[in-house]
């Protein structure tokens, strides 16, 4: 990585990152939240946007799944444990935004972070490791 990301992506000065993806992994037996973020430059944007577009955001609208009383509307009656989340499993929050669009958000149990979601999460973690060196503080 030659281009350094802007330290403050919300700062008024350009260049704003073309795309920003934030990932938070919460829960687990340790209950320790870890956060990763990728702010790839313009040149990589289309690659990232196509990856983001392959994720099934509409099935996992964060606001829908967050009003969590196991709503009758939940279409994908997941495994038997769906009534109560599985003890000690991770819960992931993923947020993606780029210029000119509304941010997309999803809340996912660990066993649903597969396929495109998994590719996106891995890409963000790799990006964040390569640019920030050791893993970012988890707050």
């Amino acid at each position: 990585m030659t281009e350094k990301p802007s330290p403050d992506p919300t700062g008024a000065t350009d260049p704003r990152p073309a795309v920003e993806v934030d990932v938070a992994r919460t829960g687990g037996i340790a209950g320790i939240t870890r956060r990763w973020s990728a702010q790839p430059p313009e040149a990589e944007a289309s690659e990232w946007i196509s990856l983001i577009d392959r994720c099934p955001w509409n099935d996992r609208d964060a606001t829908a799944s967050h009003t969590m009383t196991p709503d009758a509307a939940a279409p994908d009656a997941v495994a038997p444990a769906a009534v109560s989340p599985m003890p000690d499993r991770f819960v992931w929050f993923i947020r993606a935004s780029w210029s000119g669009t509304d941010p997309r958000e999803a809340e996912l149990p660990d066993d649903e972070v597969v396929g495109a979601w998994r590719e996106l999460v891995d890409a963000v973690r790799d990006w964040s490791r390569q640019t920030a060196g050791p893993e970012r503080p988890g707050r």
Partner: protein
């Protein structure tokens, strides 16, 4: 005591002994031999000990039925079966630690509460190790315990800590007893009960009293790079780690510091610090082996059959008071200790006499 499998011919010889001092042993051996076979094989073992000079005591106790599988670094369960109950050690540390940990946990539940395995009827204890690549977690999936290897950056693995293994198994016990919805306060109670019995299993293995115990969960699972001793502390929630990368242990020890968050199913691993500390206060007030009185009260509350799956902290506090009254009497020191435990963390108001 190491589990031993006594062959029938030895049982028969003990059963046949005529000497007076051996009467109890002989009878135990006879009843072991005569025990009816159930529809599925139930493992048991004979424990022999000398009660007083000349008296050999033999008792049949249930034995665990363990099965460890290897996910071979894929995120798939169960994986390949690598060790069953009668198999020797494999030399794979994670496999053998999980096997030994499940055995110690089984012994704890039986010795302390006469509970035979997760469901109380000798269910198999299933575990999968080497789950995923650099996988930083251990969890209960509803039927088995699943252990990642850790990433060697933060976690060195999860099977090395008995409190972690027993924590996972306790989630199975909670589920078998009707469950506690894994969100908000009922979720934090689910977590706390897993921590309490995780800590107690370790204290039981090490023969520690409440004063001698560390009251830590997951001691030794962090790498040396992490500034911290364990995942959680029941004695002092919020002090288990304070690290540059991981941040500080966020657990509160009192209701006034209850954390409202969207993370972690509403902070189930955070707010569990409050009921965890109530247990610690109760156990240290009573002294001695914490699993004997404080632990029994918590166990009775969990298994009363009246605890709703949406119980909040105060519902569970009342259940423990009722259990203590039933077990030891309304005016007992046990009831006082339980009440002081819950008032100490702000779940039961100080001024009101809580209804048992």
């Amino acid at each position: 005591m190491a589990p031993g499998i006594v062959p029938p011919y030895l049982l028969a010889r003990i059963a046949a002994v005529q000497e007076e001092g051996w009467a109890r042993a002989a009878e135990a051996a006879r009843s072991t031999l005569a025990a009816p076979r159930e529809y599925r094989p139930v493992r048991s073992r004979l424990r022999l000990s000398i009660a007083e000079p000349g008296t050999l005591v033999a008792e049949a106790t249930p034995a665990p039925d363990r099965e460890i599988s290897d996910a071979k670094q894929r995120e798939v369960v169960p994986g390949v079966r690598v060790r069953g109950e009668d198999d020797p050690a494999t030399g794979d540390a994670a496999v053998d630690e999980a096997f030994d940990g499940l055995g110690a946990t089984h012994d704890f539940w039986w010795d302390a509460y006469a509970r035979d395995s997760i469901d109380g009827s000798g269910s198999s204890l299933l575990a999968t190790v080497h789950y995923g690549r650099d996988y930083d977690n251990a969890f209960w999936n509803g039927e088995r315990m699943v252990f990642g290897d850790g990433d060697d950056e933060v976690f060195r693995g999860f099977t090395g800590s008995l409190s972690v293994i027993a924590h996972e198994l306790a989630h199975g016990v909670v589920e078998d007893e009707g469950g506690l919805l894994y969100r908000g306060q009922s979720g934090a109670l689910n977590e706390s009960i897993a921590d309490v019995f995780g800590a107690l299993a370790e204290q039981h293995r090490d023969g520690q009293t409440a004063d001698e115990a560390t009251w830590l969960i997951g001691e030794g699972i962090f790498t040396d790079a992490v500034q911290g001793t364990a995942l959680r502390s029941l004695a002092a929630p919020g002090t288990a780690y304070d690290d540059d990368v991981l941040g500080k242990d966020p657990q509160p020890a009192h209701m006034r510091d209850y954390v409202e968050t969207r993370d972690d199913n509403g902070g189930v691993h955070i707010n569990s610090g409050i009921p965890n500390h109530a247990f610690y206060l109760t156990a240290t007030a009573l002294g001695g082996h914490a699993w004997e009185r404080a632990g029994l009260i918590w166990y009775r509350a969990l298994t009363s059959g009246t605890l709703p799956s949406t119980a909040d902290f105060s519902t569970f506090a009342r259940a423990t008071l009722a259990a203590a009254s039933a077990e030891y009497g309304e005016k007992s020191e046990e009831v006082d200790a339980v009440r002081a435990g819950w008032t100490g963390v702000g779940v039961i108001p100080d001024d009101r006499e809580a209804q048992p």
